[in-house]
Symmetry: C2
Subunit: 536 residues, 2 copies
């Protein structure tokens, strides 16, 4: 197949519509600095010129270590548009893991915010490939030794009218590393084509929700997901494509995020449940108008308790489902249905397949389980934007794509109307007496008990039953909650919503739940701590 | 580039989202018959099975001659999905031209509604390639001689669970013929990839208009553009992709169209100005609630007069711009701006480039003219869905794509904010004293005069000035309008909106304007009739 250069699907094309339409629309940082889209375009040209002058172009890999800032957004476009790969470094990894990803990615350049120099500088001597180094500072500062320049100073010397090269649409555009609880981080990459298709399809899916729901061109966008996490779930591309007013909040501090929402009248954000919980627990939340705020929740399950809390603030909250390997959108809660019927279960479901996505729930022999909203199996998917595999990891890639479908490693069930609900991670499933116990159902029930801030259900070895469920909870205050949780679970058993054997054997209170670098509860560690008696 | 089968962009993927989401949503014909999307899917499978059983599959070309019906929509999907090309026959062409297109397309099968048998049967003996023949009837009728079967009877014998083949995304999906005022019809084709990208991008563009504007998943769709005209401007694909309730009205009769709009609460349609004018002139229009109706106008310029008339009915009317060679969307009037400011000039402009489209206005040396909303030039475009060229017509194709841009043959200007306005067809431009006179501006001024139903401005040869403008008008009643038109034109000259030399030399009243087969005013014929004294 030959596609003429101008018909290739390239990230640069996402800039054309807002450039023509909204040149005076604005992009803000969290400190009061602002650029118009016209200036944003010019800066993309200047950044591209500066990088090209340093010898970076087709085939190079350029790493970025920054907070969520407008500069990061410039990198989202300029780096792929010159034919380089944008490596979004996960700055929450351990220093050794950061070093591993920089070496594995073979980065040719690293753009590092001054705040992350204490992380990067000690690693420099062990970075194998010589990398050009650019520092991003928020004010005058001496150039660190060995660095090639400062971001703003480099841009200032370049003309804005850079001529971008023609590229093939399957050119690698982005690269980042995903970490499980075991093994080395795995590299996941996406092409220009994949990112353009993801942007178009998700914009079409969310855009056509009637009324104020979904996403529209009058929305004001602020990410509260780190941009290194699956390119901020793809939303910076979508928001830019639609020409939205955008706010990049920098470092996440609850009071500041709330004040930015109020100042800029932010209407659309996305985050993991923990961040929203943190935000709504801040004292300023009580006095901030959040009634026009639409929030998509991903990364972990959205609990009933969190929906209730968000709805009390008037937040239009919905779950979405995806993962690092899926760009990330696979399904979204049904926003059309939630407008007609404000039912918590509509908002918390992983939801319906996004446009162009095929989702199945299958048994270990790849047979579809019945769509009865009850029978669980592994969730598998296909879509034009799923990653082709892990970088230099043929075994991991083959396992991810066995039988021609991407295996998510998540367990869920499907309702007759095609609504997916995730019940567990395959590796976190609790198997008791030969039956699966849904840890998410247990967590959801406990989350609705007053006084419970967070909860994790895990399986512990049991001689008789194989495994038995245990709940580990973080309390809001000093009041014990065990009885209230057990009463709620008994009620769910009485109504048939929960099988009898799913009642947890014990409930342990802890000060906090251990988490992975991207903020997910680390159940593997919890199981180890329970086994060692570190949690009792 | 190798794309795995499940990542190819194929028309069949457009069915996945509504199939999962809206299986009980309905598709109606104009006679009260209805199918759910679930049944629609089954029928697509049955049609695919029937065609495959007749030996039609990859590489075959299957022609359809029908009104705008749900069966035609089934053909939009089933025929490309088996790897065949859907040839949408323009049944308004002359019999000789229909024969030419069938022979030129080398159709392997023809699906013909009984109403068009009087057109097709006399041509059969001169169709060169042996074609399978299927008749579409609305009730019991004998099978015409030489026909292989009747549509419903063929479907009834097939199972609905057809397994569609994997296809490459650049497989040809559709083919139709475009006619100018000279030469043979030219074949224009589109691939699966092009139609999927057009669907995604236009859905994303129209979907993200805030509020009730644009297109949303609660819209009720009814085309009033023949489906053979650039696949109904692509909207049947968009409406199906979004899972909308759809109404296919059959033959266009004003009273029936109005009653379908009322019965089904139609909210979204598209048509040429003539059809809307016909509809609003029908007596039933006065008593039909059209206040929730959104209408996109294309094919010809949208005049100020037509907007005023439509707005009196509460219709949310906007112009869009494109052509047979562009799939067809190139630009759309700015619906976000028209919500904020109900200004006629926003609604009548060709508008802003659709997502992924690049539009330029250039002089004969391909230099961009100033974006001053005044300087005119030819409109050229690029987008991933523009046709690659005319079938078996390398010269025409090279001319269409000279310098790597699709040349529309339209003349227009661009405003500083990127709004395109079409002022003429290149071949209809009036050149007087070395200056271009915009026939659309003249027509627009005249259209606002009470008593003027339709108007065409053309140039007639003039010894002194080269050409001089003449207006040809169709009157509403018997009242003369010449003076009123000249007063309005004098006012436009006084305000500087029109140059002095653009005032027409004369105004001729006619009973009707001659039109091409797709309903456009045939200015070439008008010029000939003026030269021969047939219009005075």
């Amino acid at each position: 197949m030959t596609i003429p250069p101008h018909s290739q699907l390239l990230i640069g094309q996402l800039l054309m519509a807002p450039a023509g339409r909204n040149p005076d629309q604005t992009i803000h940082d969290g400190e009061g600095s602002v650029h118009t889209y016209r200036q944003f375009h010019a800066r993309i040209g200047q950044l591209a010129a500066a990088l090209t002058r340093m010898g970076l172009d087709r085939g190079a890999t350029v790493a970025v270590m920054d907070w969520d800032t407008p500069r990061y957004l410039e990198c989202f476009f300029a780096i792929p548009m010159i034919g380089s790969t944008l490596h979004t470094v996960n700055i929450r990894l351990s220093p050794e893991q950061v070093l591993y990803t920089i070496n594995h990615a073979e980065d040719d350049a690293i753009l590092c915010h001054a705040d992350f120099l204490p992380l990067l500088l000690p690693l420099l001597s062990r970075i194998k490939r010589p990398a050009r180094l650019i520092v991003l500072t928020d004010g005058p500062a001496p150039l660190p030794e060995g660095f090639d320049g400062e971001y703003e100073a480099l841009l200032a010397t370049e003309a804005p009218d850079f001529t971008f090269p023609d590229l093939a649409e399957d050119t690698r555009a982005t690269l980042f590393y995903t970490t499980g609880t075991t093994g080395d981080p795995k590299g996941v990459s996406y092409s220009h084509r994949q990112l353009v298709l993801h942007t178009l399809a998700i914009a079409a899916g969310l855009g056509t929700v009637p009324g104020k729901g979904g996403i529209n061109r009058d929305d004001v966008y602020m990410p509260i997901t780190p941009l290194f996490h699956v390119h901020g779930w793809g939303f910076p591309f979508i928001a830019t494509f639609l020409g939205l007013k955008q706010i990049y909040p920098g470092r996440y501090q609850p009071a500041r995020l709330l004040s930015l929402i109020a100042e800029h009248k932010v209407t659309f954000s996305h985050c993991v449940p923990t961040i929203l919980s943190m935000l709504l627990s801040a004292p300023e939340a009580a006095t901030t108008d959040l009634s026009r705020w639409k929030v998509l929740i991903g990364g972990s399950a959205l609990s009933d308790g969190m929906v209730r809390q968000a709805r009390r603030h008037g937040i239009d909250i919905h779950a979405a489902y995806g993962m690092s390997e899926t760009c990330p959108f696979v399904t979204v809660a049904d926003m059309v249905a939630s407008q007609a019927n404000d039912d918590i279960t509509i908002r918390t479901a992983a939801g319906r397949a996004a446009p162009l996505v095929e989702v199945r729930v299958v048994d270990p022999d790849m047979r579809d389980v019945p769509h009865d909203a009850r029978t669980t199996g592994e969730v598998i998917a296909r879509a034009p934007w799923l990653t082709a595999g892990y970088i230099e990891n043929p075994e991991g890639s083959a396992d991810l794509w066995r039988d021609g479908w991407l295996h998510t490693g998540d367990v869920g069930h499907m309702s007759p109307d095609g609504t997916l609900r995730i019940t567990d991670r395959l590796k976190d499933v609790i198997k008791s007496g030969g039956e699966w116990v849904s840890s998410l159902t247990l967590e959801n029930l406990a989350s609705m008990v007053l006084g419970v801030r967070e909860v994790a259900a895990v399986g512990v070895p049991d001689d008789r039953w194989g495994e038995r469920p245990v709940l580990v909870v973080v309390l809001e205050g000093a009041e014990p909650v065990e009885n209230a949780i057990m009463v709620r679970i008994a009620a769910a058993i009485a109504t048939g919503d929960l099988p009898k054997w799913a009642a947890p054997d014990r409930i342990c209170a802890v000060a906090q739940l251990p988490r992975t670098s991207v903020g997910k509860v680390d159940k593997k560690l919890i199981r180890q701590m329970l086994a060692k008696g570190e949690i009792t």
